[in-house]
């Protein structure tokens, strides 16, 4: 199978769905990069080069570079979704949620319920998230807990190129509003990605590796941290199972419960701040649903309750590390 980057996988998904369905349109800031300029058009192919080539293939009516007006264009995407299109809108950094939150939380997410089930809102909002880029407190957040909290939204966090393509195609074909969160530190990650179109259903966790002593649950980029921790644990004779939930809403509770019951020791790794996080959420669900099978507390490894700092040594300490996951797993095994 072909080796492709996470970036390219997403690009392919967009290409495939735009070719397949004329109602799929894109909008966002600098989606092409160069609109109206005196030089090269599609110069950036998006702020992270993800949308390159789509302008050439589908033209400026369907690939729309917007003003810096997130509330207006996210709202417009919601309205277009309500009236027959399938827009894929981009929020450059999820941190900018703050300026368009109403259109997501109170409008798009609630249309169907408020209108008594008589609306469909096939809207995808792509956004980058995550720390590691030395970009300071307002460009590095991981706000998936806030989005997961909101009824009416679906939240997708692919951790591999393969998942990114399959989950994005699924998201575009989905009839509900989907938040599709892309980790900036994964864009260059390479993996096997088929050329053909394929979908990955939501609420199907991926068992990254099986194991019997401890269950490590990791989301998005944290799936890789969990995997690295599992390798380190293996070197110490501990067999760790790693699961990537892939979507936080809907969440594959069934698989998580099944493995938690089987293994009995759980560590959850989440890049978000700790309070009301997805780590806490999964912990609470597992505590409620498989308490009797637990051999010890559910441990959470998350970012601290602080904004993301700029200085590299601090930012590195901010992000959950494999070492911290190993240490949490080991502490669980000590107290058996």
């Amino acid at each position: 199978m072909a080796q492709k980057s996470y970036r390219q996988a997403i690009n392919e998904a967009l290409h495939a769905e735009m070719a397949r369905d004329p109602n799929v349109i894109l909008m966002g800031e600098d989606l092409t990069g160069g609109a109206g300029g005196s030089g090269v058009q599609d110069a950036w192919g998006g702020p992270f080069g993800v949308t390159r080539g789509l302008l050439g293939a589908y033209g400026p009516e369907r690939v729309r570079d917007t003003p810096i007006s997130e509330a207006a264009f996210i709202g417009a995407a919601a309205g277009a979704a309500l009236t027959g299109l399938r827009p894929v809108a981009e929020i450059m950094f999820i941190d900018f949620l703050g300026v368009c939150f109403d259109q997501i939380m109170n409008q798009a997410a609630k249309f169907r319920y408020m209108f008594g089930g008589r609306a469909r809102t096939p809207l995808v909002i792509r956004a980058t998230y995550g720390a590691g880029t030395r970009a300071g407190s307002q460009h590095t957040q991981a706000l998936h807990p806030i989005l997961t909290h909101i009824p009416g939204l679906k939240v997708v966090m692919p951790s591999t190129p393969y998942d990114a393509k399959g989950l994005l195609i699924q998201a575009i074909r989905d009839d509900d509003p989907v938040m599709f969160l892309e980790h900036k530190m994964l864009y260059d990650m390479v993996g096997e990605v088929p050329d053909r179109s394929y979908t990955i259903p939501f609420a199907e966790a991926r068992v990254v590796r099986d194991g019997k002593d401890v269950l490590l649950i990791g989301l998005g980029r944290m799936a890789h941290i969990a995997e690295a921790a599992a390798e380190e644990l293996a070197r110490n004779g501990i067999s760790a199972c790693v699961i990537d939930p892939r979507t936080t809403s809907p969440l594959d509770v069934e698989t998580l419960v099944e493995f938690a019951e089987k293994i009995g020791r759980v560590v959850i790794v989440d890049e978000a701040n700790p309070r009301c996080s997805v780590a806490a959420d999964i912990s609470a669900i597992l505590c409620e649903q498989c308490f009797d099978a637990l051999k010890g507390p559910i441990r959470m490894v998350t970012a601290p309750h602080t904004p993301v700092p700029y200085a590299p040594n601090l930012e590195d300490a901010y992000i959950p590390s494999a070492a911290r996951v190993v240490e949490a797993a080991q502490s669980l095994l000590r107290t058996r």
Binding site: A71, F73, T83, G84, R112
Partner: protein, 325 residues
Amino acid sequence: MSALQFPRERIIGIYRSMRLIRRFEERLMEEMSTGDIPGNTHLYAGQEASAVGVCLALREDDYISSTHRGHGHSIAKGCEIDAMMAELFGRATGTCAGKGGSQHIADLRKGMLGANGIVAGGAPITCGAALSAKLRGTEQVAVAFAGDGAMNEGVMAESFNLAKIWMLPIIFVIENNGYGEATANAHVSAGSFTRRAEGYDIPTDEVDGTDVFAVYEATRVAVERARTGGGPTLLHIHVPRYFGHYSGDPDTYRSADEKGEMRKNRDCLRLFRSRVEGAALLEGADLDQVEAEVEDQINQAVAAARAAPRPDAAALHTDVYVKYM
């Protein structure tokens, strides 16, 4: 005024719509006291000529979005009275199956994209509907209603810009009733609404919202512009608000004089009657008959709503998603 050349049936229809809105709202105000209508509601009474005049210039498949004060827009766009009344009573037969309530009445089949509990929340959504019409090539037009208070929400300005640069077939209808809740517009709004829109090169018009024909005519021009690729328009429509901000508002922040003057001189229904009777287009008896029919319709809607079932308990959990997995 070209609208005065409408056929007789159409003129009767205009009066019927306006009267229906007025009586719908007055009846709600009465029914609130019975305790059968949950919560509170924002009444459109006094502003009827605006909703009706605007919608008169629209095709059935055109879009509108509305505000927290949305009953008039819904009725003018053709939503069913029975379903609306049932919605307000919180019944399963309501426009939104009882789950939305006054601030969320929507009927996509009628192009009514929803009232909105968030001030100015509908403006960008309506830009999206206009974009959708444009890309699908349907020549539909979209109207975003908003109040004077809404003009100070940033998303209005963003929507103006987006509508203009994308040349969207949209009309922003600002219904200025002088107040946002209990606060006088002049206390919180600088400059002029039309000049604000003109800052984005959007053509504008100031309209007397007690004159349904004037509203129609201004909208007709804007619709023509929108349908032929001329982009957005802003209409600033001046209207009186008959009741308090919401049904439970004692409305003491407006003087008796102000309220009296408004009801005496700015009643769009009375002005309409004298206008069409004066022009001998209709006789008083024609209009009286409309009034009687409207009365029946409202009575029936209320009776039907009262008799309708409440939503099934299971409805709490449905309709959050099309499919959740």
